[in-house]
């Protein structure tokens, strides 16, 4: 078997893995990022299909990624992202409202449920934000029900984030921190953004291997020693390589980390933490092509008062590069139940009905459903865990073996910025504890 040596091996080229790899390689560490898929970016990426850049998961780019990852690495961001003028229109009971950015939640609540219910919810939020956040022992929905019985009001919050399964504390902390967050769209598709970060790793002497699957994390005497990788998957040069490393950072998800390392090598408390804390978050995401825009606005439209959908967005109004000339893509998201039994065809039917009501031109202009995804498994969910149910530490019980990505990001974070922040945090921790080898 071939053998190679790196300071740090990172399993998975998602937002977390690439961020960790970029910060470490810039700090002088010899880094290998190994990715089982043929492309980088994971669920935050895109694939070209019939001339469209179809998202593999994320809808829009959360702008904190600029401050967390791109700016500190000196990587371009502003020239690659366009930001819609109206960032968050609300679709309430089938009607579109371009609500001024400041005070938008109160305004949306007022339209949906009336002044009194809006006041009740805002007062409760203020208490949570300025006095004390609740814990995650109850869901955000159960927390809200203490202050309003209005399903219309709860629906407005649910359009922003799933309220039934998320923990009240974790989600409110996220709202508190993300209250002022805006979105943009990647002009050349999501994948191009993560390729920029992969290039930072390469430019600093690191390597990013795609179609290279980690098959085993090597552990000896309570410490990580390296990784077995099968590279050039299904190609002529397919081969297994043993990579020796001082630290291993897994962006493959805490369950997969346990599998790759072998449960017998982890502390029972860590195994229990993983198995009893995380709650897989599936959702329905579908993308349609159309011959003309079917939405009036290019921001993320939050939807309340619908059968199932929670938000939709039309990136091609702002970024025509994402579709063949004259064509458009619309991305629709809907929360589905956390656990089976699922009725997928019913969810899609309800979602299409919802979009038809919001976009009366749907039947006139929509040409094809390009992509329908549900992300039901813990190995490849939309999110590895609902907010409030993340692991409290990126460290596993094995010395120098870390988890990063969704499911381990700091409280108050979510999505790609959270995943990237966890990668950055681990890169800092490694710099404190391990010296880079002389190159």
């Amino acid at each position: 078997m071939d053998r190679a040596k790196f300071d740090v091996v990172i399993i998975g080229a998602g937002a977390g893995g690439l961020s960790a790899g970029a910060f470490l390689s810039r700090a002088g560490y010899k880094v290998l990022v190994t990715e089982q898929l043929p492309f980088v970016g994971g669920r935050g990426s895109s694939l070209e299909y019939k001339g469209f850049q179809v998202s593999t998961g994320v809808g829009a780019w959360l702008l904190p990624l600029k401050d967390i990852v791109f700016d500190p690495l000196g990587a371009p961001f502003d020239s690659l992202i366009r930001i819609p003028e109206v960032n968050t229109p609300y679709y309430i009971n089938g009607k579109c409202y371009d609500i001024p950015y400041r005070g938008k939640l109160r305004a949306a609540l007022k339209i949906a449920a009336g002044e009194k219910e809006a006041d009740n919810v805002m007062r409760a939020l203020k208490k949570a934000f300025t006095w004390e956040l609740p814990s995650d022992k109850i869901s955000l929905r159960d927390w809200l029900l203490q202050y309003t019985k209005s399903e219309e009001a709860i629906g407005v919050v649910n359009a922003n984030w799933q309220v039934t399964e998320t923990g009240a504390g974790g989600t409110l902390e996220l709202f508190k921190k993300m209250g002022s967050i805006n979105f943009g769209f990647a002009i050349n598709g999501n994948r191009s953004m993560w390729e920029v970060i992969a290039d930072v790793i390469r430019a600093n002497g690191g390597e990013v291997w795609t179609s290279a699957r980690a098959t085993k994390i090597l552990i000896e005497d309570e410490a990580v020693k390296g990784v077995l990788v099968t590279k050039n998957l299904l190609k002529k040069g397919e081969a297994q390589v043993q990579i020796d490393a001082q630290a291993v950072v897994s962006d493959a998800g805490p369950y997969t980390t346990l599998k790759l390392g072998g449960e017998e090598n982890f502390c029972q408390s860590h195994i229990k933490d993983v198995k009893e804390t995380l709650k897989t978050f599936p959702w329905l995401a579908f993308q349609v092509s159309s011959s003309a825009p079917i939405l009036p606005s290019s921001g993320i439209g939050f939807v309340s008062g619908s059968r199932i959908i929670n938000w939709l967005l039309s990136p091609t109004l702002l970024c025509p590069e994402l579709a063949p000339k004259g064509k458009h893509i619309t991305y629709v998201g809907a929360w589905i139940p956390a656990n089976p039994p699922w009725n997928f065809s019913k969810y899609l039917e309800m979602a299409i009905q919802d979009v038809r009501e919001i976009a009366p031109d749907y039947d006139k202009y929509v040409e094809e459903i390009l992509h329908v995804a549900y992300f039901i498994r813990q190995d490849w969910p939309m999110y590895r865990s609902y907010d409030g149910y993340s692991l409290s530490s990126t460290k596993t019980s094995v010395i120098n073996l870390y988890n990063i990505g969704d499911a381990v990001f700091p409280r108050g974070y979510s999505g790609q910025p959270g995943a990237a922040q966890s990668g950055k945090d681990v890169a800092e921790d490694i710099q404190k504890r391990i010296k880079p080898s002389a190159r």
Partner: protein, 57 residues
């Protein structure tokens, strides 16, 4: 050596449908492979993040 889906591993991310060269995978739930159309290029196997799509020996 055909391609086979292991449904218990499939997350329904539908990446296999996006990358199929032969337009041989369909379905808005678990993907269904049309073995008549499939030319066994194994792109679906490569692009499957959960190892649900496998090469059948």
């Amino acid at each position: 050596m055909a391609v086979k889906l292991i449904e218990e591993l499939c997350s329904i991310c539908s990446q296999c449908i996006l990358v199929c060269n032969d337009d041989a995978i369909k379905g808005w739930e678990f993907p269904v492979i049309d073995h008549e159309k499939c030319t066994e290029c194994y792109r679906c196997v490569l692009y499957c993040p959960t190892q649900a799509m496998v090469k059948e020996d």
